[in-house]
C-alpha cells in the first residue's frame, strides 16, 4: 500500500518514517527516488490527491501586490493560486518542461550587487546537474555552444559580454505527456517497499523540542481528521511560497535573522506583441546569420538564449539578462522595414536583415522589502493563516532591464550584427510583464546564519533535523527556469541526508 489516503486513516494516526518529506512535488519526488531500497523508511506528506481539486487548490488563496517605482501597483491576488499546483507531482503537473542550469555567474558574489553569491559554485553543482539531467531524461549541459559550435547551428558570437545559454525540454511534465509523468511520479513508489505517499495530508504545524529539533508534525485533512507525523529528519518541500507559510505559522521557525519570507524574487518576461500601437519587442539580425540555434528549434533540440556574461554584467553594472528569440513570417510595418533595410545595408555583410520577435528577462535582485507575510485574520479551511505577497521591484531592477537592453543593442550595432527594439516606457513595465510560476529566495541559503534561513546543506540554521528543498533556498534567482536546479539541489540534499543517516550511496 504505497499510496495512502490520509482521510481514511483512523483519527490521530501517528505516521512514522526515518525521513519525512513535506510536500509531494518534484523536489520531494527527486529525493524519494534516491531512497528507494535504501533500507530506511520515507514518507511523503502531500496535501492534494493525484488530480487537481479546486477545493484543495483554494487552500493557496491569499493576497498580493506587485510594485515598482513610477508604475501603478498591480493586484496579483490570483497569482497565489494560479501559479501553484497543490496535488501530487506539484508544479511538475503543469510546467512546460524547460530545463537549464543556472549560469556560472549566478553563483558568484558580484560586488556591484547586494546579497549575491551562493555558498556553492557552479562547478560544485555540476555533478548534481548531471544527475538531474539523467533523472529528467535530457542530455547533460556539457557543451559550450559558442566555443564548440554546431556547424549547422552557428552561434551569434556578439562579443565577450554575451554568450549562448542553453535550454532543453524534458517530456517529464504532466502538461506535455501526462502518462509519462504519471509513471515518473508513481512507479517508483509502487515498486518500493520503503516509500509511502500520504495523500490529502496537510502539514499545519511543525512542533519543536527544546527549540532546536523538530519533534513532530501536525497533519490535518479537509474531512476533519487529524494525525501526527514523526521522523528522524524532515524536509520541507512545499514550494517557494508555501515553505514560508508553514515556517511562519509554526512560530517563525528559521526567522532568527528576520529573513524568513523576505527577498522574494520571481521570473518575469518583458515582451509585447502587436501592442495597442502595433509595436513588438524585436531583434533585427543581419541576414547572413543562421538563427536556428536560438529561434524555434522545437522541443527536441537544445536551443539557446542570448545571456549577459559575468564580464558583461561587471562592465554594465547589471545582473543576469537574457533575450529569447522567435521567428516571424509577418510582413514588417513600413517603419520596421526601414530599420531592417538600413541596418541590413550597413551591417558587416550588407546582405539585409531579418526581424525576430523576442522577449527579455532580467534578474530581479533580492530586496528585503519584497516579501511574504501572514494574514492572521484570514485563515483557510484548515485554520492556516493566509499569505500576503508584496512583490517589489526596485529602481535598480528596472535599471538592470533597460541598461541590459541598451547594452545588447549597442553591442549588436557596434558589431554589425543587428538592432534591438523595446517599445515599452518605464512606467508601463509592470503592466506589460508576464509572470512565471517561479518563487525564489524566501528561505535563502547562506553559511552565515545572520544572512540566511538555511545553511549550505539546506538545513534550517539552528534546527538540527529540518531541511528545506525547492527554490526558496536560492539566494539569487538567475533567469533560467528553476526546476533543474531544484532537482540538482535535491540530489545534493539527498546525499547529505544519506551520509547523516548512515545510508550507503
Amino acid at each position: 500500500m504505497a499510496f495512502i489516503d490520509a482521510r481514511t486513516l483512523p483519527e490521530a494516526t501517528e505516521i512514522e518514517a526515518d525521513l519525512i518529506l513535506i510536500g509531494g512535488g518534484l523536489a520531494s519526488i527527486s529525493i524519494a527516488k534516491q531512497w528507494a531500497g535504501a533500507g530506511k523508511t520515507v514518507a511523503i506528506l502531500e496535501s492534494g490527491g493525484r488530480e487537481r481539486d479546486m477545493e484543495i487548490q483554494a487552500l493557496y488563496a491569499g493576497a498580493g501586490t506587485m510594485r515598482a517605482p513610477g508604475n501603478p501597483d498591480r493586484n496579483i491576488d490570483s497569482y497565489l493560486v494560479q501559479s501553484r499546483a497543490r496535488w501530487y507531482g506539484g508544479s511538475g503537473n503543469v510546467w512546460g518542461g524547460k530545463c537549464g542550469p543556472l549560469d556560472p555567474a549566478d553563483f558568484v558574489r558580484r560586488d556591484w550587487l547586494d546579497r549575491t553569491g551562493w555558498p556553492v559554485t557552479r562547478a560544485q553543482m555540476n555533478p548534481y546537474y548531471d544527475r538531474a539531467c539523467d533523472l529528467m531524461q535530457i542530455p547533460r549541459f556539457t557543451r559550450d555552444w559558442d566555443n564548440d559550435p554546431d556547424a549547422a547551428r552557428p552561434p551569434l558570437n556578439i562579443n565577450s559580454d554575451f554568450f549562448s545559454s542553453p535550454r532543453v525540454f524534458t517530456a517529464l511534465s504532466g502538461e506535455v505527456d501526462s502518462a509519462k509523468f504519471d509513471a515518473f511520479r508513481n512507479d517508483f513508489v509502487e515498486a518500493s517497499d520503503n516509500i509511502r505517499v500520504y495523500l490529502h495530508a496537510n502539514v499545519t504545524n511543525i512542533a519543536l523540542r527544546r527549540g532546536d529539533r523538530v519533534q513532530g508534525l501536525e497533519v490535518r485533512c479537509l474531512n476533519g481528521r487529524r494525525h501526527t507525523a514523526r521522523g528522524r529528519n524532515y524536509v520541507l518541500a512545499t514550494g517557494g511560497i508555501e515553505n514560508v507559510r508553514l515556517l511562519l505559522a509554526s512560530g517563525g521557525i528559521g526567522n532568527h535573522s528576520d529573513l524568513l519570507g523576505r527577498c522574494f524574487q520571481g521570473h518575469v518576461t518583458f515582451g509585447v506583441y502587436e501592442n495597442a500601437e502595433g509595436l513588438n519587442t524585436m531583434l533585427c539580425v543581419s541576414d547572413g546569420q543562421n538563427m536556428s540555434l536560438y529561434a524555434d528549434s522545437g522541443r527536441a533540440n537544445v536551443h539557446c538564449v542570448i545571456a549577459t556574461s559575468l564580464d558583461g554584467q561587471r562592465r554594465f553594472g547589471t545582473g543576469n539578462f537574457t533575450t529569447t528569440i522567435f521567428n516571424s513570417s509577418d510582413p514588417p510595418r513600413p517603419e520596421d522595414a526601414a530599420v531592417l533595410a538600413l541596418a541590413g545595408a550597413l551591417d558587416a555583410n550588407g546582405s539585409g536583415a531579418r526581424r525576430h520577435p523576442c522577449f527579455f528577462m532580467s534578474e530581479q535582485f533580492p530586496h528585503l522589502e519584497s516579501r511574504l507575510t501572514l494574514l492572521p485574520e484570514h485563515t483557510d479551511a484548515l485554520g492556516m493563516p493566509r499569505l500576503y505577497l508584496d512583490w517589489v521591484y526596485s529602481e535598480r531592477d528596472l535599471d538592470n532591464l533597460e541598461r541590459s537592453i541598451a547594452a545588447l543593442g549597442d553591442a549588436l550595432g557596434a558589431q554589425g550584427k543587428g538592432r534591438v527594439r523595446f517599445p515599452v516606457p518605464r512606467e508601463q513595465l509592470l503592466s506589460i510583464l508576464n509572470m512565471s510560476r517561479h518563487h525564489m529566495g524566501t528561505t535563502r541559503m547562506s553559511t552565515d546564519a545572520a544572512r540566511g534561513v538555511v545553511d549550505e546543506n539546506c538545513r534550517v540554521h539552528g534546527i538540527r533535523n529540518l531541511y528545506v528543498a525547492g527554490c526558496s533556498v536560492f539566494p539569487t534567482s538567475g533567469i533560467v527556469n528553476p526546476t533543474l536546479t531544484i532537482i540538482a539541489l535535491a540530489m545534493r540534499l539527498s546525499d547529505h541526508l544519506k551520509r547523516d543517516m548512515g545510508v550507503r550511496t
Binding site: 541576414d287 513600413p334 530599420v339 541596418a343 550597413l346 558589431q415 554589425g416 527594439r421
Partner: protein
C-alpha cells in the same frame, strides 16, 4: 562634389532597398514612408538640424563606393559611444537616424 537632395534620396533608396527586399520588390518604387517617419522624429528631437550640412557630412561625395563602408564605420562608432536615437523602441545609431532625416 556635394550631392543634391535627389542624389541622396536615390542613394538611400538604393541603400535601403537593394539588400533588404526580395528581387521582385526591387523593381517597384521603394516605400520610403517608414524611413521618413523616423527622419521626422529625429528632426523633431533635433530642430536645429541643418539638412544641407547633414547631407554634406554624411554623404560628401554622394553614394560613391566609399559611402557604405564609411557610414557603416560611423554607425558602429555611434553604438560604441552610445550615441543613439530611440524611435518607438528601436535603438538606432545617430548616423542611421540622421540618414533617415535626409529622406524628409
Amino acid at each position: 562634389m556635394n550631392p543634391s537632395k535627389r542624389d541622396v534620396l536615390l542613394a538611400l533608396a538604393a541603400l535601403t532597398t537593394s539588400a533588404a527586399l526580395p528581387a521582385t520588390a526591387q523593381t517597384a518604387a521603394p516605400d520610403l514612408s517608414g524611413g521618413r517617419a523616423i527622419g521626422q522624429a529625429y528632426l523633431s528631437a533635433n530642430p536645429t538640424t541643418d539638412l544641407v550640412a547633414l547631407r554634406n557630412d554624411l554623404l560628401p561625395n554622394g553614394f560613391d563606393a566609399n559611402a557604405a563602408p564609411r557610414l557603416r564605420a560611423r554607425a558602429a562608432a555611434d553604438f560604441r559611444a552610445a550615441r543613439v536615437f530611440i524611435f518607438k523602441g528601436w535603438r538606432l545609431s545617430e548616423t542611421e537616424a540622421r540618414l533617415f532625416a535626409l529622406l524628409t
